[in-house]
Amino acid sequence: MIVRTLAMAGALSLAAVGAQAEIKVGMITTLSGGGAGLGIDVRDGFMLALEQSGRTDVTVVIEDDQQKPDIAVQLSDKMIQSEKVDVMTGIIWSNLAMAVVPGAVAQGKFYLSPNAGPSALAGQGCHPNYFNVAWQNDNLHEAAGAYANDAGYKNSFILAPNYPAGQDALTGYKRFFKGDLAGEIYTQLGQTDYAAEIAQIRASGADSVFFFLPGGMGISFLKQYADSGVGLPVVGPAFSFDQGILQAVGDAALGVVNTSQWSKDIDNPANVAFVASFQEKYGRLPSLYASQGFDTANLLLSALEVAEPSDADAFREALRAADFDSTRGDFAFGANHHPIQDIYVREVIKEGDIYTNKIIGVALKDHVDAYVGECKM
């Protein structure tokens, strides 16, 4: 699916402006299947920023990876070999990013990650052409650990699915949390029933629960946890509390604390304008994924003001400067091209009929990820 409207507008203006090279962006993201909500938000945020910029010379080629790594690799080959894109972006899942990004940057393409931030790409596997605009995977979990300290929790029960991102999540939490662990459980990926885990939480004597269960797993856990009457305070990363998921969790999420680098009530002009325009255009509140898509596009646009991707060194410098108005306020890249940013603590509230998040504090200020030292770039 190629977004031709912009391309056509670009063609029309070509005569007026002269020999301005067209920029081609390849977006591989998840648009079908159970995880489609995230990809759609990233895409919509990205396209909104592009539309607002008024730039007519940027074409975006969008393809659906179906959340399958081999499809993503095939699409990446297509983008590079057939579409001959200049810049790539869009991947939601870490395992897909690991499949696509090393190959793409090795072939000289720029990759801007709007969501996934696996540690391998932040540390030893970092690359000059790879920029992460969202977060390193551990960041929000680390912030949750820091928050747990601030909240005075001494004994946490922690759980995550048994796969690398889940293992990273618990590692990230433990890296900052100073209390004891009442229990540590790996659940099955895609698990929908958490009765056994909740019973263990109840019996463990913990004073708090940290969980990382993205997507539908988080919905199931929160509903069952609320109904179980265990009632211990819960903290988690924003992935189980984004705008798309909250409506499906309902009251069970109210009051739950979560950590995020973005929230719709961050008070800066860029964010206020983004939230209003996103809501106007798509008729729903933006999620953090939408904000990441929006920021990714604005980063790209800011660099394009300075240099063409064909001039790789200049373009890379322009990206590194990160000279754009982020929805998160201050935004800068660390040495490994991952964000240095504040991570907020949010609480789930109800505004009218809509469940959403409100900032209640800052967990980590100007946070740098743990892998920057391993990056030799």
Binding site: D70, S82, M98, N162, P164
Partner: protein, 327 residues
Amino acid sequence: MRAETLLNACVLLALAAVPLWAWVADEPFTITLATRLAILALAGVGLNLALGLGGLVSLGHAVFFGIGGYAMGVLASHAQSYTPLTDWPVLIEGTKSMPVIWLVAMGASGLAALAIGALSLRTSGVYFIMITLAFGQMFYYFAISWPAYGGEDGLSIYVRNGFPGLNTLDPIQFFALCYAILALALWAMARLMRSAFGLALVAARQNAARVEAVGIAPYRLRLVAFVLSGMITGLAGALFADLNRFVSPVMFSWQTSGEIIVFVILGGVARLYGPVVGAAVFVLLEHFLGGLSEFWHIWLGAVLLGVVLFARGGIIGLVVGREVRRD
């Protein structure tokens, strides 16, 4: 029979001609698509031996596809990081050489097929379908939760493995390699279908009691067929991993098993070229329908359903009629 031979020749020629054209026209992605097609067809050729000839409906062939993929991933990742797989009792180093990887892939998937087959072949019918599915799920969850080789993230191999005398990074050369292997596998299958083993295997599918009554044990026939089938699918897995320069547990998922079955049935069960035609149609549908609509799975489902309901004998059967070769 004549019509099918002619069709087969056309399919094989087209599969060679399109990438050659793409090479001349500088459309490397078309070559990549054709390579993908050839590899998936090879996986289907493997399954066709068990399913088409042997009547063994395996919903667990992703196991062998995945083992082949991980054979490549594990060996190449060790070679990439210059760490041995093990130094006890003997030193085993990783490798970036395709022929070695292929041998390991076929050996490992053959062993797995021997173990799974020996147990599963005690059952039949729906039970066989389900027990192979169960083995598939075991491998899938194991691969996801075993952290040593990337777990669910999978393993990235940054540079494609090498083959003596070829530059495998060049799409057309890698395609040629995969095409040659597919052609070789098809030739071997054609021989096998006419061999003593093939005769007995097909007879055992049509009437197991008859085969037993003439003194041939169907269990052994089926086990051998299952092992050979697993080895071919395992080889396809290794090539698939090399095409993507990446392996992940998705290769073990039951959807992968389902897709390999789809290739075989879409083309025509027990037809020599059934998996090739089936994989071709699947890859083309995926490519073009995916571009038409976000909801392209609906149309893919409709096409599959149409083939099952109205085109028995698959696409080849539709083109050349239902008669199967005999002499």
